[in-house]
């Protein structure tokens, strides 16, 4: 059998390896983050962000375990629903009454 062995740490363009010889050297991966692995389906509760109430203090952002608080130019822009597991820390820690609240059900 002659096979082309993957002797590199390949930039992954796919997340499946049909054969053993395509496994990158030592199973080493390119560190590119795992935002394409969606954990949004874990959610049984969902945070509701109220843009009008939000002071953009970023408390939710620093405590969010999933990096699911979307920010742009120092302002919160929404929730990354593909990642949010619905833990509710954001709502629990939010200093304002109605800026971040939890709702039952994971579906948006």
């Amino acid at each position: 059998m002659t096979v082309q062995i993957n002797d590199t740490i390949r930039k992954l363009d796919k997340k499946s390896f049909p054969a053993w010889y395509e496994i990158p050297l030592g199973g080493t991966l390119v560190s590119e983050g795992s935002t394409d692995y969606h954990t949004g389906s874990w959610r049984t509760k969902r945070p509701i962000w109220n843009a009008e109430e939000c002071s953009h203090c970023m408390i939710c952002w620093i405590y969010c375990p999933e990096t699911a608080i979307k920010v742009e130019g120092g302002k919160v822009t929404g929730i990354d629903t593909t990642l949010c597991k619905g833990c509710g820390i954001c709502a629990n820690e939010c200093p304002r009454e109605n800026a971040m609240t939890m709702a039952e059900g994971g579906e948006y």
Binding site: I5, N6, D7, T8, I9, F17, A19, W20, Y21, I23, L25, G26, G27, T28, L29, V30, S31
Partner: protein, 395 residues
């Protein structure tokens, strides 16, 4: 300038390490390896190497630090023995699985209990499935040459696996012999620069290594690693050949000594090979067609070479300094048997366990093994498969 000097096996290993001048050495002292670390620490103190010597707090941390430094793209060497190798056991598998080209000199010493500081090969033979290349040396010159070769083998792009260079404790490690030492520059040229494929320090191109791998890919990962080990035989042979062409000394994967027309043969590894040569010479003078098959490269196991060398003999004995309690036979014996089966050969093969815990294996005892083989050759069949040389009360 090449020169011949008197060095112990440990001293020869340390001298090779000095010339390799690795980036990192992380090691912990243990008898009978200690002299290597001590000598190397002298080189560090006098500034004759540029190495970062990490004097870790255990062998466990020695191999761990070696994994770290090798993963950070540094050429890394360590050395150990016996209990130290056992303490490293977990990380041996990790070093191989992470494809880190670490070189380790293992001075063969038995494993407790009972505690004993002397030579046998239980330690490294017990680590045979860790995924390391294992090379066994007969004497100090071979230790020196093999340590240098090991760097090239480990770092070969198609190999990228750790290499263990084994030498028998005290018998080789503490025996002073004349060693032909190469010129520093010759060694540097031979090993070349280390160009790591895996490099944690390349922060522009960050990598994640040592990732959890679940049932979906674990098998494929391990097979890729095993395949690399199997294929490394060609690289080991190539490097040895090139070494021979440049410096006039080479050893092969296996070496058949007077095996061309041998009717009886001893298959062994490490220092016992030397004594077996002497006994074979004596027997040849008496008209007995005796030979020796030296296994230098034990992992990957040289299936073809061993089968080819033994196919014509009437009887052969595998001598090794280790037990495999409860197994059908000790490790090397089982491997030789497996190699013969692979090639569809039936050879009258017996096992001799010898020299445990430093028990001397003198020429007269090896002669007894050949006498046993003569008996089997005459009989045409094996009378007893498992045998124990110079074991009190064993008949």
């Amino acid at each position: 300038m090449r020169k011949t000097i008197g060095l112990t096996g440990d001293g020869a290993a340390a001298e090779a390490m000095r010339q390799i001048d690795p980036d990192v050495v992380a090691a912990y002292p243990i008898t009978p390896q200690t002299e290597i670390v001590e000598r190397f620490a002298e080189f560090v103190a006098e500034g004759s190497v540029h190495t970062e010597l990490v004097t870790v707090e255990s062998e466990h941390s020695a191999m761990s630090a070696c994994c770290g430094s090798s993963a950070a793209g540094a050429r890394t060497i360590t050395c150990t023995s016996s209990q130290g190798l056992a303490l490293m056991h977990e990380m041996l598998y990790i070093a191989a699985g992470n494809r880190l080209p670490i070189v380790m000199i293992n001075v063969n010493r038995t494993l407790s209990a009972p505690i004993n500081i002397h030579n046998d090969q239980s330690d490294s033979l017990g680590s045979r499935d860790a995924g390391w290349i294992q090379l066994y040396c007969e004497g100090a010159q071979e230790v020196y040459d093999t340590v240098i070769q090991a760097v090239r083998i480990a770092e070969d792009r198609s190999v990228m696996l750790p290499v263990m260079v084994c030498l028998d404790g005290f018998v080789v490690s503490h025996n002073v012999e004349p060693i032909n030492v190469l010129d520093d520059q010759e060694v540097k040229d031979f090993i070349g620069e280390f160009r790591p494929v895996i490099n944690l320090l390349d922060t522009e191109n960050p990598i994640s290594m040592g990732n959890l791998t679940l049932p979906d890919y674990f098998f494929e990962h391990k097979y890729a690693q095993a395949y690399a080990l199997e294929q490394s035989k060609a690289v080991i042979a190539k490097v040895d050949k090139e070494f021979g062409e440049r410096f006039g000394r080479s050893y092969g994967i296996v070496e058949g000594y007077r095996m061309e027309d041998a009717e009886i043969a001893i298959v062994t590894l490490g220092s016992m090979v030397g004594t077996a040569r002497v006994v074979a010479d004596d027997l040849r003078e008496q008209g007995v067609k005796a030979g020796v098959l030296k296994i230098r490269c034990y992992r990957p196991f040289p299936i073809e070479e061993v089968a080819e060398a033994l196919k014509g003999v009437k009887a052969a004995a595998v001598m090794e300094k280790a037990l495999s309690p409860g197994a059908p036979g000790p490790a090397v014996f089982s491997d030789v048997l497996g190699a013969l089966y692979h090639k569809g050969l039936h050879v009258n093969l017996i096992s001799y366990v010898a020299g445990l815990g430093g028990r001397d294996v003198p020429a007269k005892s090896i002669r007894k093994v050949y006498e046993h083989l003569q008996k089997i050759a005459a009989l045409g069949k094996v009378d007893r498969i498992l045998n124990y040389l110079d074991l009190r009360g064993w008949q």
